[in-house]
């Protein structure tokens, strides 16, 4: 998509969340919303919301609120959500299996359509409609299906090698569940999900909030 506005990364990262809430509001027949009201729902300061939305031009009027349909359509275009995104899953252990079985069913435009694994018991089986192939079929199958997005749940020791293979297969975006930062090939974007860090951060922020309360 061309002519996308230049967005700060923090704004870009909030767009999918805004989009999800706008869908919920629309399905509840809400037509307009003020930034202060939206702020309570999405738990982002209203000034941040107004700044985020301002990158997309005139989406509302002062004192009148934002037009929910207009916002939703704007963000849908930005997110490219109307296009089906086929996803390759690398590694079908416990987590990979959970991802296949859930398969983003809340979002019909995101779909794991092929998976790769080295466990012989899983190779050439089909789980909830998703075929699982031998790792050595990765290059062929991903190229064949012109898949450009992948999720990797392989152990850290193999993550870099998988990333290189994915790059050769034409994959541009990888969601990675191993916490170590990887050697990201040129032209590829990697996003890391590290549950241990998320949990440590949570406990730390909770202690912090607790102290703030204790000190009152």
């Amino acid at each position: 998509m061309k002519n996308k506005p230049e967005l700060p990364k923090a704004t870009a990262e909030r767009i999918p969340m805004y989009y999800r809430y706008l869908q919920i509001l629309e399905s509840n027949q809400v037509k307009r919303i003020k930034s202060q009201e939206l702020s309570k729902i999405v738990q982002v300061p209203s000034a941040t919301i107004r700044r985020d939305f301002s990158y997309f031009g005139e989406l509302g009027r002062s004192g009148y609120g934002y037009d929910i349909y207009l916002l939703k359509e704007t963000f849908a275009k930005v997110l490219n959500v109307k296009q089906l995104e086929q996803i390759a899953l690398i590694g079908v252990g416990n987590l990979g299996m959970a991802l296949i079985k859930n398969n983003f069913r809340r979002n019909p435009n995101l779909q794991i359509t092929v998976a790769f694994e080295k466990n012989p018991e899983l190779i050439d089986t089909i789980v909830t409609g998703v075929p699982i192939y031998d790792m050595n079929m990765l290059l062929q199958k991903i190229k064949e299906n012109q898949i450009t997005t992948a999720i990797s749940t392989v152990p850290s020791a193999h993550a870099n090698s998988v990333l290189q293979q994915l790059s050769r297969a034409g994959v541009k975006a990888v969601l990675n569940f191993a916490p170590e930062r990887l050697d990201v090939p040129e032209g590829m974007t990697v996003r890391y999900i590290d549950l241990t860090s998320e949990l440590q951060t949570l406990i730390y922020l909770s202690d912090y909030q607790q102290e703030a309360v204790d000190q009152i």
Copy 2:
């Protein structure tokens, strides 16, 4: 822990990541590191690193680098990592099962020690050392073990009710895998992990990077 410095939330959220890399560096016998070098490893700008570290006082000297042992110990204290954190898991579906089987084994101080589920086939079984109880035992078992941290993988429709029960049981921190924002009880901290949004954000940022490359 008292006398913790006042940290901006963004800094607080980077501490667990810094801590993990410092452990890796230390185990590789690295004694000191400059912010520019660390920046390449953790993929955070060096100016941000220096600002983050400055909240903790004198941890290094200009032109000489930071003392890795000192940094690591400082962050360990901040994160309270030497104290074992018992975690309750609510919901043992595919994702919950993956969490139990993995059980944060990279971090010996984080441990799921009890789980709750309503599927009768799982109730009163033990999976990799973790007992799974009926949901109606939640209040009793969590209080008994004085657990204050929980992970919820229950479907959105039940997430609010589970949160209320956890609050009554004394839980202060919850990592939640349902994407909807919840009615968070007073004194509780909730952190949301939403894989669909993570994936949308990834695809969006990747398209964005791709365009930037195309335009060169």
